[in-house]
């Protein structure tokens, strides 16, 4: 296979920044990673998640063999079983009774083969992807304005701009390396940074202006901006005249709704002066970038928001020039690749829609047996169709919709009731895998081999450099094998991803008269060697642009039928469902160190040392209203589902709103699946769900007890609330329940029936009790600590170091102290995950004179690797300064 003992150039599988990674494998087969120096996205940097990639490569919880109905089978048996059932279902109920649900984690080649099979041979467009949850709004906004789903700018433009507006984007956490580049550029060039976000996020650390606008009011902001630009002589009529249509209608609509600053301020619920400042900067500066992300996209009017942004850039000609563009940044490593392939229900193939020309062209190219001729069902509708029995077979690849979809519990029920659920994944224990009839082991990062495209259209190779464990296979290979069993062998005889890439490249250039932005026809006959050494390049890559294309639309050429960009009249709308009196608005999002549903990042201990539990960030006034204490638990409820998280009181949060992380799944927490509370309200145009705005019933969780369980084996704790973290040698669980078991020892022993050797501490008053269990050879297996309040529950850091240790028998009772006997300071909550520097250490250093993040870095090394914690370091410096002066 693709094993070597040298270094490999590959690409990070996490966010849409798409950083180049240099992976090294030593003689023992142990991998290490560092940022690739010559990759345009990151130039040698890596964030904390990327830096920990090699820590997630162990075989724990990997899916290694095919399983049918829980029984391990051969690949032949499993695929025959699927093919037989699939054919029977299609024969009886037609091609629209089956579906593929894909993922932005798949490689472009995987996507291509899946799309080809469904749309060309099975004959349905029921192929959608988790990109629907992420980028669908931006895709449609792009298509409406530019005639093509194309991001105009590149990362360099973020550095070259004069005004950078970040909308609904916590770049510091979600796209750490892009953020680092902005931080550096701001330091060097001093551009203005405006952050539009209801929440004061870590990104606001570099903001000259943070506008904490009303949730979902973004389009009002940009309609107000368009009005302001028109009133302040900032419209570029020359550009409009030469390259755009629709300005008058767009401005008229904006003027009707948001004619002036006071109306904009009222809609957005912010200070008029702040708005005026932001608008003035936009108007006055030559170079402006509006970088937008899920805060814009995940909305019931996400497409319109995207166009409201693009309108302002077109109206001022701030597009197609260095440092000027609307810039949609993607969430996933290969959301863009999926879009290029057309692997979505409302796209056809290779930036083509369902036009008769395109259908004919693609049908010929593929030699298709059953070409699909119309759009299929988008994610939310697709799972509804599963629930209603219209879809009877669904194949889910490399994603975890039981955690990530809105109304995720209904998705779970739908899958449980579905005739045939096939899940191909690299992990065995996902929430979605638990609903599958057939489980197929797929390769993961470091094993699979193919291309991905990042947010700046840059295609890179994600390289296989480690042999796949067990019987895991590449997704393109699994799908091709399946296609052969359906009788389409001729069209799916691929033996290497390069063959698929060539075909994909050829299709992109087929009859492409510069009317499809995506064109990589230069790679139609790429050699295997060139493919294996693929140099990162931004599309289009064709005869006209053989070295790729840094920036689109520089010549004012768009991809609409008349080649002119279109401004769209926007009737701004607030989110669909306002909160009731006893509800708060739940906003969901990423945290710094986790990725998606944690199936990979959850395995790296240091990635759980920054934030180790699901939480609920809430304004102190709301906390008071609901009698919620800092460090207590909060229960949110919607869709007959509960979410329980640790209360984080913070004035960074607007009143009336809470923020919860989107990552936790049932493997890591009992009630941490935030998306199960999200209503399946979608944008009517693109079908993207409104993840950022869910009214939820809120109350303090009445915990009768709080606990910590540290153990060397995985368990499912018998408590209503639990949240798991991974330790170097085991796991830690935070626990709570509204009920107290009658007898702690019995409660514990029922979960560790194999442990016979227990030590205990019990307090006859209050709740304090502690237990430790040892294996027969005397190694520490488990420590359980229960207390009345969370404040009395000790940290797990010291205990983590004791797990698996054989302690001197006369000393071992001291493990119950959960700390070492000397009084050396515990590091506190880990802030710098790279160097494991804790809050206590940092505060101590600040008190001893470190007055900046840089000074802290010089002394403690914190923040000097990935830099992700720099905002928090600065915040700590500031807090200590305030305490000193206050």
């Amino acid at each position: 296979m693709l094993i070597a003992k040298e270094s490999h150039q590959t690409t990070c599988p996490y966010c849409g920044v798409g950083c180049g990674v240099t992976a090294e494998v030593d003689e023992q087969g142990k991998a290490s990673v560092k940022g690739r120096e010559d990759h345009p996205a990151n130039q040698g940097r890596l964030c904390v998640k990327g830096s920990a990639l090699h820590e997630t490569l162990d075989a724990q919880n990997r899916l290694l063999h095919p399983q049918v109905e829980g029984k391990t089978t051969s690949w032949d048996e499993a695929l025959d079983h699927v093919a037989e059932r699939w054919k029977a279902i299609v024969d009886e109920h037609g091609p629209d009774s089956v579906a593929f649900y894909l993922s932005g984690q798949l490689l472009t080649e995987d996507y291509y083969v899946a799309n080809k099979l469904m749309k060309g041979f099975v004959g349905t467009s029921n192929i959608d992807t988790n990109s629907r949850l992420c980028m669908a709004s931006a895709v449609v906004a792009h298509k409406r304005a530019f005639g093509s789903d194309a991001v105009p700018a590149c990362y360099e433009d973020l550095e070259n701009t004069d005004v950078l507006i970040l909308v609904g984007s916590n770049t510091a956490y979600a796209h750490p390396i892009v953020y680092q580049r902005i931080v550096q550029a701001k330091k060097e060039r001093g551009m203005k940074v405006i952050v539009l976000d209801p929440r004061r996020t870590a990104t606001c650390d570099i903001a000259d202006l943070h506008i904490a606008l009303r949730p979902g009011s973004d389009a009002f902001f940009f309609n107000g901006l368009l009005s302001y630009l028109a009133d302040h002589n900032a419209i570029d009529f020359d550009y409009l005249h030469r390259h755009c249509d629709g300005f008058d209608e767009a401005l008229d609509q904006a003027k009707v709704q948001v004619p002036d600053l006071p109306s904009a301020a009222a809609y957005c619920d912010v200070d008029e002066q702040q708005l005026k400042q932001a608008y003035a900067w936009f108007a006055e500066h030559e170079r402006v970038i509006t970088l937008f992300s899920q805060g814009v996209n995940q909305s019931s009017s996400g497409v319109d928001k995207g166009n409201a942004i693009i309108n302002c850039h077109l109206a001022t000609g701030k597009i197609g020039r260095p440092g000027s563009a609307p810039f949609s940044i993607t969430g996933q490593p290969n959301a863009m690749g999926g879009r290029e392939v057309g692997g979505l229900a409302n796209q056809f193939a290779a930036h083509m829609g369902f036009t008769p020309d395109a259908i004919e062209r693609v049908s010929d190219f593929w030699q298709a047996k059953n070409i699909a001729k119309k759009e299929g069902l988008k994610a939310v509708d697709m799972f509804n169709a599963v629930r209603e029995g219209r879809i009877k077979a669904i194949w889910i690849m490399a994603t975890n919709p039981v955690v990530s979809m809105p109304e995720a519990n209904r998705v779970k029920e739908a899958l449980e009731a579905c005739d045939l659920v096939v899940v191909s994944d690299c992990m065995a224990n996902t929430d979605t895998a638990a609903t599958a009839n057939v489980l197929l082991p797929a390769t993961g990062w470091s094993e699979k081999h193919g291309t991905v495209t990042n947010s700046e259209r840059c295609i890179s190779l994600q390289k296989g450099f480690i042999a796949a464990p067990g019987e895991a296979r590449n997704d393109w290979d699994i799908i091709s094998d399946f296609a052969r069993r359906l009788g389409y062998g001729d069209a799916f005889n691929y033996t290497h991803p390069v063959e698929i890439f060539r075909e994909h490249a050829a299709l992109s250039g087929l009859d492409n008269q510069r009317d499809r932005a995506f064109d990589i026809s230069a790679f139609s006959d790429i050699s295997l060697d060139d493919y294996e050494q693929f140099e990162p390049v931004r599309w289009p890559v064709n005869d006209a642009n053989p070295k790729g294309t840094k920036r689109l639309f520089e010549d004012g050429h768009f991809f609409t039928p008349n080649r002119r960009a279109k401004l769209i009249p926007i009737q701004a709308r607030l989110p669909m469902k306002p909160p009731a009196a006893d509800e708060l608005i739940m906003n969901t999002g990423r945290i710094r160190d986790q990725w998606h549903t944690m199936t990979r990042t959850g395995k790296a201990p240091r990635l759980l040392s920054h934030i180790d539990e699901p939480y609920v960030q809430i304004h102190p006034d709301d906390a008071r209203r609901f009698r919620i204490q800092q460090g207590g638990l909060v229960q949110l409820e919607n869709q007959q589902t509960r979410y329980i998280g640790r209360a984080k009181l913070s004035e960074d949060q607007r009143r009336g709103e809470v923020f919860v992380p989107m990552h936790w799944n049932r493997v890591y927490a009992s009630r941490g699946r935030a998306d199960a509370l999200v209503n399946a309200i979608t944008d009517p145009i693109c079908g993207q769900p409104e993840f950022k705005h869910s009214p939820v019933k809120t109350r303090a969780y009445q915990a009768a007890w709080q606990g910590l369980l540290v153990c060397s084996t995985e368990v499912t704790p018998a408590s209503d609330y639990w949240a798991k973290t991974t330790l170097a040698e085991g796991f830690a669980y935070r626990l709570a329940d509204t009920q107290q078991p009658e007898n702690w020892a019995d409660w514990l022993e029922s979960q560790f029936s194999d442990i016979k050797d227990w030590i205990s501490f019990q307090d006859s008053e209050g709740l304090a009790a502690r237990f430790a269990g040892f294996s027969e050879d005397g190694a520490l297996r488990c420590v359980f600590i229960v207390a009345q309040t969370f404040a009395d529950v000790p940290a797990d850091q010291w205990l983590a170091t004791q797990l698996g240790q054989v302690l001197p028998v006369e000393e071992r009772f001291t493990v119950l102290a959960a700390q070492s006997g000397d009084d050396s300071l515990s590091p506190g909550a880990i802030i710098c995950s790279c160097f494991q520097v804790g809050e206590n250490q940092i505060r101590a250093a600040i008190r001893e004179g470190c007055d900046s993040a840089e000074a802290l870095g010089a002394q403690l090394k914190c923040g000097t690797n990935c830099g992700s914690c720099l905002p928090e370091l600065s915040a700590l410096v500031e807090q200590e300064r305030l305490q000193e002066t206050g």
Binding site: F761, D763, S764, V809, R812, F813, A817, G821
Partner: protein, 407 residues
Amino acid sequence: MNEAQPSLVIVGNGMVAGRFLDEVRARDGQPYRITVIGAEPHGSYNRIMLSSVLAKDTTVPAIVQKDHAWYAEHGIEFVSGSAVVAIDRQKQEVETACGQRIYYDELVLATGSRAARIPARNLDLQHIFLFRTIADTHGMMDAAASASSVLVVGGGLLGLEAAYGLAKFGAKVTLVHRSPWLLNRQLDRDAAAMLQNVMSGMGIEFKLSDEVDHFHGESKVEGVTLKSGDTLAIDMAVIATGIKPNAELGIDAGLLGQRAIAVDDFMQTSDPRISAIGECIEHDGQTFGLVDPLWRQAETLAARLVKAERLPFRNQAIATKLKVSGVQVFSAGEVQTREGLRELCLRDDAAHIYRKLLLEDQRIVGIVLFGDVRSGNWYFELMQQQVDVGPLLPTLIYGQEYCPEAA
């Protein structure tokens, strides 16, 4: 020896007498002609160590602290192997069993205690031992060498140590104890169970909540019947059910006292010429069995007689620190958990470690440590000083090194 010096006569030559001699000699003051009269033939020895002798962990010579030569060397007249049978308070004389009469200006009674007997029939059979003296110990060791089944009566410290020592001879040892658990004055039931577990591991069997009804045998003991009706074949028995003050000499001479010879805070009996210290006295209604207060009694008395200093003896609360068959035990204050007390309890059954602290109003009122006693003294200080331990609670039970803020 200077005839003009006043005569100080010490009756008894146990541990407290030995200590008293040291205290006298350490003080520069009134000189005395000193006479020590001991019933045993040996010099002063460490009686506590007899258990170790029995367990063959040490030897008799090693535990003798003052041998005959020592008395000679220090100008002390030592009358050994001869008990005092009477005191003539009029004449200020004592009379020994041999008829010798010795004048005193100051008399110190340090007659100690003897092993309590039990109300069981046939207690006089051979190979039934009381465990008190070097002679007892030698007798036990001789008998144990050929014994196959031994009964030990009494589950206090001495009985447990006897059982431990005798088990080492290879005999099957059964210990019968009147209370439901061992060391019932020093330990609670749980800690005692742990102790029993440790000793069971040495092959010792226990009969709790039971007593000897009678022994049987011709001349030598051959069996025992317990009050429960159980009968055991035995060829040796050791009685270690407690001690009884040797107060008769003083009481018969008309000194005041109920259970023992009463003394005031300066160790003076109802006769100003006669003082008493050790296990033969009662102070404030209290008698004594542990060594700590005895040392302070010796000090108080020496200060008064030699320096005419008044250093009142106070019967302070003390912690019991024992080593039972190799296991450390520390207990102080209240031992049994009761209503109204907060109990903090840590246990490691496999390692035989047990810690219990009893709290009232956030103050320690009771300590039981078994197996690991390292923080015993610290807990004891916290208890004595009535320290509010509320702020230390989360880590208090793990010991001083886990409560740096209290240091």
